[in-house]
């Protein structure tokens, strides 16, 4: 019996078994940002510890950076204080930092891959749950808390329990207007927001193999919304080609050496799994959320289910969701008037996402009374998009074209919903209050659907606007 990627990579990174029964796992790459790291550095200082492997930690800033005015000092003094803190920590502990003046700056999960820091067969952690994104390259990529950030800084290791591995197979060709975002929403809908507890997800099947690297990143990004510890796709020729020539990727002889390793860690054809779930990709519709977690999702042609159609213990949560959203069972989300459209985030803020969104505009204008913003995921994405004129397509249509950052995905910066605004969003979480207003409402969907919602002023079915 062969081995799956997870087990192969895991065993290569075992330092030792701990008395608690956990594994001490070596971490190949540690990414940090300004929100979840300052307390960890403070704990190091209090204990008189240093950073064990400073070259294996890379810092960027994304959560709190304003995307409209990037001039320092920031007008938000709390944000400015956090910036100064990460600058101080990076300097004191000899860690590379991409600040807003550095062309490598951007959302941590966009920066890692585009610089070639993220590589197959690595263990990668970051104090951010969407670290699962990096699994797109065949890495074990885990979101961690701040005390664990401290552990990794001090020891380059985590104390961790090994999860089981569930293979999620998506076969067949996806329909027109169906994107990686729709696939992951469909998976979470079926398996539930807690269905992944105790598991790592391996995504496989012809629909996954057909995806570009950026689509695989979108898919893996939202793994955490399904409750799994991490998610990954086996590396293939697309992965290897993507990495070639990137700033931090190995070159020449080192590339050849790394390539042998990358190929060796892919799951064997006869690998075993603790669970297997199959999806028919041709049956997945463009998806949209109707509730307050990413599992409360449906096909765009469907109607919001009745409270009674859920198990008894789910009904309270469904009732809370409908109340917060001001929706009723039987409603369609298609046709709902929106107030805000947000294109961006670590889920869908890459060049291919902006291209797909721009394609939908076709000379249209953002509907009256809709605020629409496009936030590239990194400075590199912004530059590349501008080089091919995407910024002009967006701004001529009435979208605001912003600087790189997390923006309205979590609203720790000036980009926020106001009151009970309804937002068509390419981000990853429709939690209550997530986009900055306690009464704000979020509809998750693909960037193409967000662009169309901005133009039409209401949610539409992307399939009616193709060709």
């Amino acid at each position: 019996m062969g081995e799956n990627l997870f087990n192969k990579v895991w065993s290569k990174h075992i330092v030792r078994e701990l008395p608690t029964g956990q594994t001490q796992l070596f971490i190949g790459l540690h990414l940090i940002h300004e929100v979840t790291s300052p307390q960890a550095f403070q704990m190091l200082r209090e204990r008189g510890l240093s950073v064990a492997y400073p070259k294996r930690t890379i810092a960027t800033v994304d959560h709190i950076v304003p995307t409209d005015e990037t001039k320092r000092p920031f007008s938000d003094l709390l944000a400015e204080k956090m910036m100064q803190e990460i600058e101080k920590n990076a300097k004191e502990f000899d860690i590379t930092l991409f600040d807003t003046t550095n062309s490598n700056q951007g959302i941590v999960h966009i920066v890692g891959p585009e610089l070639g820091l993220t590589q197959p067969g690595m263990t990668i952690v970051c104090g951010d749950s969407h670290t699962s994104t990096h699994g797109a390259f065949g890495a074990i990529a885990l979101g961690i808390g701040t005390s664990q950030v401290r552990d990794v800084l001090a020891t380059q290791c985590l104390a961790i329990n090994k999860p089981q591995v569930r293979r999620i197979v998506v076969n067949a060709e996806l329909g027109k207007g169906v994107y990686a975002k729709d696939v992951i929403l469909a998976i979470i809908r079926k398996l539930g927001v807690n269905g992944g507890i105790g598991y790592a997800y391996e995504y496989a099947g012809s629909a996954i193999e057909a995806m570009s690297m950026e689509e695989r990143m979108t898919l893996c990004n939202m793994t955490i919304e399904g409750g799994a510890k991490c998610g990954y796709v086996n590396p293939d020729v697309k992965t290897f080609e993507y990495l070639k020539g990137r700033e931090y990727a190995p070159r020449d002889a080192s590339y050849e050496r790394a390539l042998r390793y990358w190929k060796s860690i892919a799951s064997d054809a006869d690998a075993s799994y603790d669970d297997v779930v199959e999806f028919d990709g041709s049956l997945i519709e463009p998806m949209v959320t109707w509730g307050i977690n990413p599992g409360q999702t449906m096909g765009i042609s469907e109607r919001i289910p009745s409270v009674e159609s859920f198990f008894a213990d789910e009904q309270l949560t469904v009732t809370q969701a409908l109340k917060h959203m001001s929706f009723s069972s039987g409603d369609m989300v298609k046709g709902k008037k929106i107030d805000v459209a947000f294109i961006g985030s670590c889920t869908n803020g890459r060049l291919s996402d902006l291209r797909e969104a721009a394609k939908m505009i076709k000379g249209g204008k953002v509907a009256k009374d809709v605020k629409a913003i496009v936030v590239p995921g990194s400075q590199k994405v912004k530059k590349a998009a501008e080089a091919e004129g995407l910024d002009g397509i967006f701004t001529r249509a009435g979208f605001e074209w912003r600087a790189a950052g997390c923006s309205m995905c979590l609203a720790m910066n000036p980009d926020k919903l106001q009151g009970s605004q309804l937002c068509a969003s390419s981000s990853n979480r429709n939690f209550i209050g997530r986009q900055g207003s306690p009464t704000g409402r979020t509809l998750l969907m693909s960037p193409a659907m967000v662009a169309l919602a901005a133009i039409h002023g209401s949610v539409v079915d992307v399939r009616d606007h193709l060709g």
Binding site: V35, Q42, A159, N161, S437
Partner: protein, 199 residues
Amino acid sequence: MVELISEVEGTGIFVQGNDIDTDRIIPARYMKEVTFAPLGEFAFYDARFSESGDKKDHPFNDSRFKGASILVVNKNFGCGSSREHAPQSLLRWGIKAVIGESFAEIFAGNCTMLGIPTLVLDPASITFLMDWIKEHPSEAITLDAEKQQVIYSGKSVDGTMVSSSRKALLEGTWDSTSLLLEGKDAIKEVADRLDALYN
């Protein structure tokens, strides 16, 4: 060696609903801080206060539960963001143990690292316990990590804890840095071996 945690005793409080995410436990705007110290008063903030600052009906506002330290919740509590700010805010509000139907993994892991035991009970026992707390807000509940039990009203109910978390709490290794540092030589060996594979 840090504190050994085998028993936590206190009065109870409960928050109903499945999939209560970490954004709800601590709204992101209160994370604009370089320390965890001030987070306690912001626990469940938007569920507790209206935008104009008026108190809403929420257990964390209810004077009957003032001083409670055992939080009882339903399914998949703490899902979403990995922010340690969520258990930090609960801890600083006064919560010392959480009992639920199930927990999101990163949240539960963060709790362990702060010395907060998380114990899982079956759904019927959770409902029963919540109802009991409603009637007996000033009576003590004990979480016994050794026996993996919840003891209240003169009876004990069996639950489960993640075995490694339970061990770490009982043996005082829940703050894992020093434990990991003990493996220093082995760490170096793995680092060198991996350098030959990648980097």
